[in-house]
């Protein structure tokens, strides 16, 4: 038995009559508005999570600052050393922008196969990262395995941090601050994203393995970053598996065997969609699939 989610007596259709939405057209304007509203305000990006608040029986916030139309936050810049991704870039746009960069296969797949086509065209990468309640976000493990950094800005200035750190502080991010950029280093690497929805597509994956390795000319792993999503409440790297693969010839079966030995470090989350044990059980096969896809790339 899995405990149900709390239900109000009131049916879910109602929306909060008092919410305001300020449509910002520049970052400065958005920061000003957020600063003005303080804790009563929040950022509204694609809206695919916030607009479902009534379904979750969560009240809407009093004020939203819509940032989706801020041009400077909506670009993907592909440089020689890094790729800079604006936070309001949609999943669909991100997948399209990265389509010809094999080193970003993991992220293109994460962005290009999540949810469904219309949602991918609405939901933003920044929203995906900044929603603590969404354990099954595809882009979080994908960006973890790419060693992404997150730039956060407020009126008082900007700071950059590792995505791992951002995930720790995101639910307590001070009012008036928002993600302004995602920076992903470029390098020679083989990457792949293995996600497991319960149907063929269209639902949230119950487990995700995002995989990135660099191999030398002899096929030995020189560097590895592997992240696991949806299994635990927050995605994280699988450092023991990474360490175990370093220096070894990369083969998918071997990686899966090692994953089997190490999988017990995960404490899965029980959900209505899948039990905890299942999420952990499927990890080795996702590692195999990811490794095979990466090798084939």
């Amino acid at each position: 038995m899995i405990p149900g989610s709390p239900m109000q007596r009131v049916p879910a259709a109602a929306h909060n009559a008092a919410s305001s939405i300020h449509v910002a057209h520049s970052l400065a304007n958005a920061l000003d508005a957020l600063s003005e509203w303080g804790s009563a305000g929040a950022v509204f990006a694609g809206g695919t999570w916030i607009m479902r608040s009534p379904i979750r029986h969560e009240p809407l916030r009093e004020h939203y600052v819509a940032i989706g139309r801020i041009a400077e936050l909506g670009a993907v810049r592909i440089g020689t050393d890094v790729v800079e991704i604006g936070p309001v870039v949609t999943h669909a746009a991100l997948a399209a922008a990265l389509a010809d960069l094999p080193e970003f296969n993991v992220l293109a797949a994460a962005a290009g196969r999540s949810a469904n086509p219309a949602i991918r065209a609405m939901a933003t990468i920044g929203g995906n990262l900044a929603t603590p309640g969404f354990a099954a976000a595809d882009c979080v493990p994908a960006l973890l395995c790419l060693d992404a950094e997150i730039e956060v800005a407020g009126r008082e200035g900007r700071e950059r941090m590792k995505l791992e750190h951002f995930l720790q502080i995101r639910s307590t991010l001070a009012p008036g601050r928002l993600v302004t950029q995602i920076v992903v280093p470029r390098s020679e690497r083989k990457t792949a994203h293995a996600r497991l929805p319960l149907r063929k597509a269209g639902d949230y994956p119950v487990a995700i393995v995002s995989f990135s390795v660099s191999v030398d000319a002899a096929g030995r792993v020189q560097a590895a970053r592997i992240a696991v999503g949806s299994v635990e409440p927050v995605a994280r790297r699988w450092e023991r598996l990474e360490a175990a693969l370093i220096g070894r010839q990369l083969d998918a079966e071997g990686a899966a065997r090692t994953a089997t030995e190490l999988a017990e470090e995960f404490v899965g989350r029980d959900g209505v969609d899948a039990p905890a044990w299942y999420r952990v059980s499927v990890l080795p096969s996702l590692v195999r699939r990811a490794a095979a896809a990466a090798l084939g790339a």
Binding site: I21, T48, A115
Partner: protein, 152 residues
Amino acid sequence: MALSLTVNGDRVASTADPAAPLVDILREELHLTGAKPVCREGFCGACMVLIDGKPTPSCLTPAALADGCEIQTVEGLATPGQLNRIQAALDASDAVQCGMCFPGMVVSLTHLLTASPDATREDIRAALTGNICRCTGYERIIDATLLALATK
């Protein structure tokens, strides 16, 4: 503050709450009841409309972000009294059953016909991941789409 929308070519004003879902404005204020709020969370696709030409679930679009946009609902996709290409193909294929999902299907597929003129059967299936039908088992909808793609 009044919002200004362009719906099926008509300029309309609305005094709806800025966070109100577009689907409620279309249905309750404008009496355009084609879009159906079936799941209200972006999974079913029955409330799909074209916003500036892009298929968008109107349940997840707040009024404030529809302000100033060109919105096309299923009611506005064909010349009055006629069917557009996908509507005609779905009709000819006897694809319709209860019909509740079809406004959304038609919006998504109308877009697909122009955006992916070379779509294969598998492409169409994938494109319909966010359009659920509880009656038909999909195959006829896919057949009709292929028929429409072949009909220029």
